[in-house]
């Protein structure tokens, strides 16, 4: 008794999830929630504004809507719905493509688009075959004691378009899951001349498992002759086990990939090469323009930043500021020209050597990206097949009358877009009659 009830529940669930109405409702909900996410400031795009939103909305996830459990649940339910719908439709599509059987009587010929022709059996059969064959139909014929019948199909892959495009959505979601669970995403601001191990970068998602290093030979902000920015260029080398494996110049839109890790040029900042001389110990550093980073001299509570920078290649100059502890006001400020050395609070000497570029690199590993492209390709293929490669099926039944003559009932499956099919059907009939 219990077993029967369980089966009932499974069947019930299957029935719910195989409904296209549910799919449309879910799709509508996805659109609604996605739209809400453009009204509420999102933490990843506007962190400051997102924090200002009321606490209750934040707790409910409205400021990070696309990564909330319930948005993912929606997508998950949609996937289940699509999979179940596809499974259910597969057999039918298969039958309508590969399992076509000629009609068994004149009444089973499609009757929405239907024509009756009279003529001599053999010549009619020949002209049907000729005309359909010439028009790209694959024809199957059977003979019976009452007469003969045929069915012809053209552009048979069109039947699969809808199924392929629906499955592609599931493929896209799988790709996205692979990307989030198996990859990482990070960012590094690296000065020209330095080498950093890949696993030391700041990651916002995932962990870095690779253990090679990157060396930045140079970072440049290049301009065209007319004064417009050309692009940012970073000359980057990959070092593994002390050996340089590869070296390449990357720029925005032209990334470098090594062992599945891709380096994207994403920003650029000017910086200054400085040397701090603390008790005969020389410490080189590169500080970023506009206080992007700071230097704390070892053994002191002095913090040095580069507040502004003049990037003239002939005579670069910086405006530096020194802070002590958590003090708000700088304890020392001044301008430094290239080659100049000054004393900082009697603790160390600072020399400005010249300018250096900082390259902002987005570093990412996304093993799911190829699955996503596959999903995109399937989606397009599916849509092309559905809209531009519509399957056409014509069939007919010839009923012998007295002698060799008889009546051929011929019809076409009208499908959803009747107009084009009707035209093609009329042309076929015209050609058959002309023979």
């Amino acid at each position: 008794m219990k077993e029967h009830r369980d089966e009932g529940i499974v069947e019930e669930l299957w029935k719910i999830f195989s409904s296209m109405k549910l799919g449309l409702v879910l799709l509508g909900l996805v659109a609604l929630v996605a739209g809400l996410g453009t009204v509420f400031p999102q933490a990843n795009l506007e962190p400051e504004k997102a924090k200002a939103v009321g606490q209750i909305w934040q707790t409910l996830g409205f400021t990070q809507i696309y990564s909330t459990i319930w948005f993912r649940l929606l997508l998950g339910l949609l996937c289940i719905n699509l999979i179940i719908c596809s499974i259910q439709r597969f057999q039918g599509i298969y039958r309508r493509t590969f399992g076509l059987k000629p009609p068994e009587s004149a009444s089973t010929v499609p009757n929405k688009m239907n024509v009756k022709l009279t003529g001599e059996s053999e010549s009619l059969k020949k002209s049907v075959h000729d005309v359909l064959g010439r028009n790209g139909f694959k024809v199957t014929t059977t003979e019976s004691n009452k007469g003969w019948s045929f069915i012809g199909i053209k552009r048979r892959w069109g039947n699969w378009g809808s199924l392929i495009s629906h499955i592609s959505f599931v493929v896209l979601v799988i790709g996205a899951i692979l990307g989030t669970t198996m990859g990482f995403k990070g960012f590094a601001m690296i000065s020209a001349g330095s080498t950093i191990p890949i696993n030391s970068i700041n990651v916002s998602k995932g962990t870095v498992k690779q253990d090679f290093s990157v060396h930045i030979y140079s970072a440049e902000d290049r301009f065209l002759a007319n004064g417009e920015r050309d692009n940012w260029y970073t000359d980057i080398g990959i070092i593994e086990n002390g050996q340089e494996i590869t070296r390449q110049t990357i720029s925005v839109n032209h990334p470098l990939t090594y062992k599945g890790v891709t380096f994207y040029q994403s920003s650029f900042a000017n910086g200054a090469r400085l040397i701090a001389d603390i008790k005969e110990q020389k410490i080189p550093m590169v500080l970023q323009d506009r206080g992007g980073n700071y230097f704390q001299a070892p053994g002191t509570d002095l913090y040095l930043i580069v507040a502004a920078m003049k990037n003239d290649p002939q005579s670069p100059a910086i405006l530096y500021q020194v802070y002590r502890g958590t003090g708000v006001e700088p304890v020392q400020t001044g301008q430094l020209n290239a080659g100049q050395t000054i004393d900082v609070q009697g603790e160390y000497k600072l020399t400005f050597e010249g300018s250096a570029g900082f390259t902002g690199l987005q570093i990412k590993q996304d093993p799911g990206v190829w699955v996503v492209w596959l999903g995109c390709a399937l989606l397009l293929l599916g849509l092309m097949l559905s809209f531009y490669w519509r399957t056409m099926v014509v069939s007919g039944f010839f009923e012998s009358g007295q002698g060799p003559d008889g009546e051929l009932t011929m019809g076409a499956m009208a499908g959803k877009v009747a107009g084009r099919v009707q035209k093609e059907f009329d042309r076929l009939i015209h050609d058959i009659q002309a023979k």
């Binding site: 453009t38 994207y264 920003s267 987005q362």
Partner: protein
């Protein structure tokens, strides 16, 4: 340096503006008067406008040395081009001149928007940030132009359908009325579906090329920025339209409303997102911020 070319581009823009504006009035005059001469004028003016529009786009391309698809002004110029191109094709192919009376006002309003809200500094060819220097951008915006152009047409057809339907009774009593120039309801409905069937795969392609480009430029194929999200919402609306039509036989009035609804989403994806919502695409609002 290119002063001559710049002047020529400006002239092309104003010729296009005049031609499109006049052509809108001639389409209306034709619908009202039924004088074939008026209709012919309207069509010829639309062709003249399209030629001037094409010239403006090509000149901009020569001046900027890149595809003219990098700020709001340039995109709107190609959007109007897409609308007119698809419209002229439909008018010629389906002998549907009355459509012009509903489609050309969209182009006209977009051009008015350019004139009223964009200063000269927003209209000139500007330097583009490195992220926009990609061949994918060309495909991305070109598919958007054609898809959006076609959606504008389906919107015009939707309005025609609803007008004809609501005046159905008058039509019988007044065979001389404007509405009598419209084809029958079923033809409008079927055509609207065809146009969306053409545009939907293009919109899909537009979103996909955008994703490929974003992956090259930023290392993320999808980051849920408002533009992406709204293009997805637009896509979902048209996907719903297709499902409702093919599976539940939603035709006629409900389908016509959906085409209007869908085009509203198209417009919001462009105007609403560029001017009301923030995001990665904000360079499109012709303020060239760096993408840091």
């Amino acid at each position: 340096m290119n002063q001559g070319l710049l002047n020529l581009e400006t002239s092309a823009f104003y010729v296009m503006l005049m031609a499109y504006t006049l052509c809108m009035f001639f389409y209306w005059a034709w619908m009202g008067s039924k004088k074939d001469l008026m209709g012919q004028f309207a069509t010829y003016l639309a062709i003249v406008g399209l030629i001037a529009n094409t010239a403006a786009i090509i000149l901009r391309m020569i001046i900027a040395g890149r595809p003219p698809l990098s700020n709001s002004y340039e995109f709107l110029l190609t959007f109007v081009w897409g609308i007119t191109l698809v419209h002229l094709f439909i008018e010629y192919r389906y002998k549907l001149r009355s459509l012009g009376g509903f489609v050309m006002p969209i182009s006209f309003l977009i051009l008015m928007f350019i004139i009223m809200s964009m200063g000269p500094e927003e209209r000139i060819a500007q330097a583009i940030p490195p992220a926009l220097k990609s061949k994918w951008l060309t495909f991305h915006v070109l598919t958007a132009t054609l898809a959006y152009g076609a959606f504008a047409i389906s919107f015009g057809l939707g309005i025609m359908y609803l007008l004809k339907m609501s005046r159905g009774a008058d039509n019988k009593t007044n065979p001389q009325g404007v509405i009598s120039r419209f084809p029958d309801l079923e033809t409008i409905d079927e055509l609207s579906y065809k146009v969306i069937g053409f545009a939907f795969p293009l919109l899909t392609l537009c979103i996909i090329t955008g994703a490929i480009w974003a992956n090259y430029a930023w290392g993320t194929y999808w980051s849920w920025d408002p533009k992406e999200t709204w293009s997805l919402i637009t896509w979902i609306i048209y996907a719903a339209y297709l499902h409702a039509r093919l599976m539940y036989g939603w035709k006629g009035k409900r389908a016509a409303w959906m085409t209007i609804f869908g085009f509203a989403a198209v417009l919001f994806t462009f105007f609403g997102v560029n001017y009301f919502l923030p995001g990665l695409h904000s360079y499109a609002s012709s303020q060239l911020i760096s993408i840091v």
